[in-house]
Structures are given as C-alpha cells and as structure tokens.
Symmetry: D2
Subunit: 226 residues, 4 copies
C-alpha cells in the first residue's frame, strides 16, 4: 500500500518486533499449530513424515514442535500463494493431511484440488476429505485457514502479552508523533521493543546483569586478546 | 485378586504386551496427555518446568513429549496412590497446574488439597482452581482423572489398533484354551504379541530381513570373533 | 559354550545387568562412538544421514547421540556377522563412512569389500579409504573394530564404575557359591545389580523415597480405584 | 580501530557473513567444542549440568550440542572479558570443569583463579586442576584457550569451505574496489554472501525453486487474502 500511495496515515509494522517473531511466531504458532492438527485429526504425530513449507519464524516453530512430537520433519524454504499447488497434488501420498498455519487461506490451491475431486466427505470437525478421481484421498484441515486458530485455541496468553503490548505501545507512539511521521510503513521503535522485553523478563523475575566498566572497555578495545 | 483367590476365571494381562506398552503407553499417552494439558489450559509449554512423577512407560512418553514441546522436564520414579500428597502441597509454587495421566484418580490426594482450600473457581472447562488459605493457587485438571481421556480425545487409532488386537486375540485364546488354564493371571502368549507386531509392520509396508544361515550359526557359535 | 558343554566352571553373564546395559551400553557407547567417529574423520555430523544397523542398547545410544549432533538417523533392527555385506556395498553412496561399534570386527564383511577394491589410501589415522573399481570411495574406520575404543578413549569412568562393580561383585559371588552352581551361564543376581544401582545413586547424593504403608497396600489391592 | 583511526586500509568484516555465523559459528563450533571437551576430559556429558555463558551464534551451537549429548543446559546471555570471574569461583561446585570456546583466553579470569589456588595438577592433557584453599577443585581446559581448537581438531571442512570462500572473495573484492572504499570496516557484500550460499547448495545438489509470476505479484500485493 505504501508503494502505491494507498496508505491514509502512518503505520508501524508491529509484526516485525523482535518480541513478536522470536516468541509469538516461533513458540506460540509452533505449539498451537500442532495442537490444531491433533485436535482436528487425533493422529499420532510420532513416526509421521511432516513437511513444513516455509522456514520463517512460524515455520521454524512448527518444525521444532513437530520434531518434538516425534515426526520426521522435512522443511522447505518458501511462504506465498499456492505453496501447495497442482503439481504437489500429483505427488501427494494417499491419506496425506494438508493444513495452513501462519497466513491467509491462499497458501493451498484449494480450487485446483476441488477440480480433481469426485466427492468430499467430512469425517470429523475441521477435516474435509477430498476423494480424487485416481482413488487417492487428501484431507484438508480447517478449509485451509489458520489451523492453529480454526482448530485449536490459538496463541497462549503467556506470549500474546508481548504482542499486544507492542501493538498498544506502537499505537500510543503513533499518536504521540502525530504530524511528524510520513504516511508510510515504519519499523517498531527499538525502545518499545526492548521495553516490552524488559517488562516481560521482569514479570518472570529475571534480572539482567550489567557489564563492568572493564568489560565495556574490552568490548570497544582492539588492543587486548590473542 | 489372584492372590486372594477372588478370580472366577483365567485372565490374560493384556496391558503387559510389548505391542501395548512400547507404543500405546509411550507414544499415545505421551502425546494425548500433553494435548489434554494444552486443551485444558492453553498454556505455552515451552520454558515451563514440567515434573513427571513416575517413569514407567507412560511417564517416559509424557517426559519425551513435554521435552519436545520445550519444557524443562524433571522426572521422579514412582506411580501409586497419593503420589502428590500433603507435603507436596506445602512446596508447590503459586499457579502450578497438576494433572494425572495413566491411572485412576487416586494419584493426587484431592481430599487433602480441599482441606487447605478457602474457595475454588472454574476458570475454564476441565480446570478447577484451588485458592489456598496462604494465598497460593493450585489448578487441578479434569478432577484428577486421566487428563488425556478427560480433556483430550485420548489415544490415536494408529496405535490403539494394536491394543485392541491384543485384547481380541487374547479373548479368543482364552476361549480356545478353555479348561486348560488355571484361574489366575497369565501373560500375553508371546506368539500373539509377535503376530500383532508382524501385522502392524505389514500394514505399514515394512519388511523384515531374514538371517542368513551363516548369521544364524554365528549367533550360536562362541568360537568366532575377537 | 554352555549348550556344547564346553564350559569348565559356572559363569555369570555380567553384560546383562540392568546397571550395565541401561548406562554403559546406552550412554557411554553412544557418546564414545560418535566421539570416535569425529576423531577419526573430523566430519560435521549435522545434516548427515546416519544409518544405525542394530537397535539394541548400543544401537539406541548411538542413535540418540547421532540425532543429538544433528544427523538424520535411520535405524535398522539387526546385530550379527556381515551386517554390512556385499549387497550393501552395491548400494552405498560414494564417500560413505562405515564403522563398527559394540561388537567384534565381523559386522562389516571387509573381505568382500577388499575384493571390489582397486587400491586403498590412508588419508587419516583410523581411516582406510577403499577405491572401488566403479569409482566410488568407501571409508572404513578403525579396521572395522570398535570405533569407540579404537579411535576414541572408550567409556567414561562415570559409568564404567557400575560395570566394573558388577564384574567384581559377581566374581566374589561365584567364589562364595563355589560348589553350589551348575557349570552353565547364570544371570546377574538381582541383589547385586540393585546394590550397584543403590551405591551409584548414593554416590550422586540421590535419595530414594520409601512407600508409605497406605501406598504399599494400594499397590497390592484390587478393590480401590475407578 | 576504525573508531580510533588506526586502520591503514579498508576492512571487510567477514565474520559477519550469514554463511559464516549460521554454519561455522553454530554447527562447527557447537560440535567441535563438545568434541574438545570430551577429548580433554573423557567425561560423560549425559546428565551433567552444562552452563553456556553467552548466547550468540557460538553459544547457541554449543547449547544445542550439549543438549543433544544429554546435558541439562543452562544458558546466560553475555560474551566478554571475565565472563567467569571471582564471584563465580566462589559459587562453582567442587569438580566443575570450565572451558572457553569461540573467543580469546580472556573470558575466564585465570589470574584470579590462580590467586585462590594452593597447588595445581595436570591429570590429563589439556586439563589443569586447581586445588583451591577451601578444598574444592576446579578443572580448566586448554589454558582457557579455544577448547575446540586446542583440544580437538577444530572446524570440519564441510563448513570451513564457506568461511574460506567468503574470506577469499572479500579479499578479491577489496582488491577490485581499490581506491573506492573508505578506510573503515565494511560489511560483507550481500552478493558475495549469497554466491557462497548458492555454490554450497549447488555442491550438495540442492536446487532452489523459482517463484511463479503469480506468486511474485501476490507478495507485492495488499489486495488479496483475508
């Protein structure tokens, strides 16, 4: 929108905060996606081959948790529209389960899947089973929508506190800098991100060490050390 | 019952089958217990301290999966009535969640917990929050009953097939040996357990190598090897 | 030897002690085998495909540690002479490293490997590189002998104490029961195995809980619990 | 040096390349540090408490591998001179092993340690045992120098190829831009870093998918998706 001049006011890209993607995307999406998968299917994850398309922060979290539940995890590096497309439907094994997490419902080309399908069944809540004309069955979870939100409860509060804090503080910051900012997309102010991190650590009774003067000097010096 | 002569007919202890405890107890109870915990609480497991009391096959499965979801796991070796008792309620941290999996509802001494409690709340399905007189809160899941059955769907079909197969084949075996068996507890016949394993592997298209004659001889010989 | 009447005196099979295979075979062989592999090759384990032939206690330990160092681990269930044989040499990828751990040097059919080989090189200590006539190279570690003993230091003392304690106590036990025992292979007396475990835990300052009378009764009773 | 005007010519900070810290620092330092630790001590890692001071790329790699070898890993966030200092020597448990990896020999305040020490022993190569006046023993590996280089062979070739490629290409780049660059520290040119990554993937026979035109458009569009 910024590129096309379609923005009406300044925006802060809160999803790029460190306190968001290092926790919310990684740990919460990871856990809740597997949780959504289990709630939708009640399949045993252990021993399954689990392919994660996309290896950003969400993909990493999903891969860690699938591995932690005993799956053999394959990761690919992508994240876009039609990530699972016609060519993949050719190759997918009979009985495979496909789901989307972390993005809109465009990642799986459901229209193409429907074209190949004779009939569908709804064996469980959040599961649609496509019976392809070649006899294979493909199971789609939650209509291709975010399986962690649609089939599970989504993100635990223990981390959403940081995401919401970023959003609230960025809104206040936009208000405060009213008139100063260009009508484009701005990064999360570093001090907001760090303040959210500091408050979170404080709430967990974690203390942060301070560097000694000698240590500060060492970090800046180039004369010491071999 | 066997010790007290209270059995009316021969029994086969199907829960002791290898194809039961190596899969059902370990992988299914492991996954479904964590699943029940998440469905009941929607807590983030990562970073939590997770204490597993009891390290039999169920306890091992639960520990593996809690670890896989990012918890710091502590295991203890036990499994009995009142495993969590009055002395533990003294020590438990404010906000701790306690649950039972793999056994009857006697593992947590709920009566003692109730004695210390001013009032209780029900913040979510399957969660009872005990407000102790000293100000701490302890959350009990699913009334102390099996959390994987009470708060999640229990065991995936991918392994229950083996447990059910053992039960059915043992019943048939009891019928077949009618009159031959003492009225006591018998082990699962080894050939039933192995037949269930063989069928399961076959259903997964896993083939089993055969030893060559040279290999069989080597295994029995004591003359070769240094 | 017992089957053939070749034993001259009673034997206790110390390698079957729980305090041996649960620790020595699993944790020590696991760590020292990977250590031997790294010392022999200085290869990065992460990302490598690591096939473990044999899934007894040694194989499990090796699989856990290869996984822990980032390998993609494949396990097979075997353990005998010629586990890696002519047919495998057909299939092995160029550059593959093969090694034996946990048993004599008969597991790899080195004679067959040598028949296919034009020339060999010794690129590093403990590494022999076989240049096959089809152009592939296969690297054999430590002449097919136990790689954890031949290329690393073998088992850490922290667990060998238990193995040695079992051996010493079993010898004393044999002496004590002189004349009482048949000239065949006997299991490790349970009280020796448990005494070794108890002493080890004591040396680690680990205390063992005692069951209450109520808990003992519960374990024996069949009337309580639903 | 740049800050103080002490540089004589332009510098490229090759250690900041993605193809360096994501692989060399993480996987190689991780593996070789544990390898150095084992070679120096032959201690069993499993079950040990392993404290990693510093959680940059090296620290992460070390933590992953210590975890993978069965240690209970504690991480702290630091990395500087005197990271282990007088106050830590007060607290360290008898028999503790300390080592440095990833940096100069200033991380452990060895001078302070020596002040508290009655006598030292050299029980193994690369191990110095400090007998403190209070009776505790602290074992220092490799004189506080990089334990992965001093007690093991350092980094496997499978990743050093990328680090060396970066260094060579950056040198050529400096030569090529002779006269154009300020006498200060420059980042690794992005195209060099990506070319190294591309060549590495190519050497592993990994192909990279290309986005379709529809996918490129989708990534840039803000109109699609709900």
């Amino acid at each position: 929108m910024a590129n096309e001049g379609a923005l009406q006011y300044p925006i802060i890209a809160v999803n790029d905060a460190d306190t968001k993607h290092l926790f919310d995307n990684r740990y919460e999406t990871g856990q809740s996606t597997l949780d959504g998968f289990i709630q939708a299917t009640n399949f045993l994850i252990a021993g399954k081959v689990f392919t994660v398309c996309g290896y950003g922060w969400c993909g990493r979290g999903i891969a860690i948790r699938a591995d932690g539940l005993g799956a053999k995890v394959i990761v690919t590096a992508t994240g876009d529209k039609n990530v699972i497309d016609d060519a993949h439907f050719d190759a997918i094994k009979d009985g495979c389960v496909i789901a989307n997490s972390g993005h809109f419902d465009v990642e799986i080309n459901i229209a193409k899947l429907r074209e190949r399908t004779g009939r569908t069944e709804l064996p469980r809540d959040s599961v649609e089973e496509f019976h392809l004309s070649d006899g294979r069955k493909i199971r789609l979870l939650a209509e291709g929508r975010l399986v962690n939100l649609a089939a599970a409860e989504g993100h635990p509060a223990a981390v959403m506190d940081m995401s919401f804090a970023n959003q609230a503080l960025c809104l206040a910051n936009l208000r405060q800098r009213n008139g100063e900012l260009d009508t484009t997309v701005h990064g999360v102010p570093k001090d907001i991100d760090q303040e959210v991190a500091r408050l979170k650590l404080q709430s967990l009774d974690v203390e942060i060490d301070e560097l000694t003067q000698e240590q500060v000097l060492y970090l800046w010096s180039w004369r010491e050390g071999t």
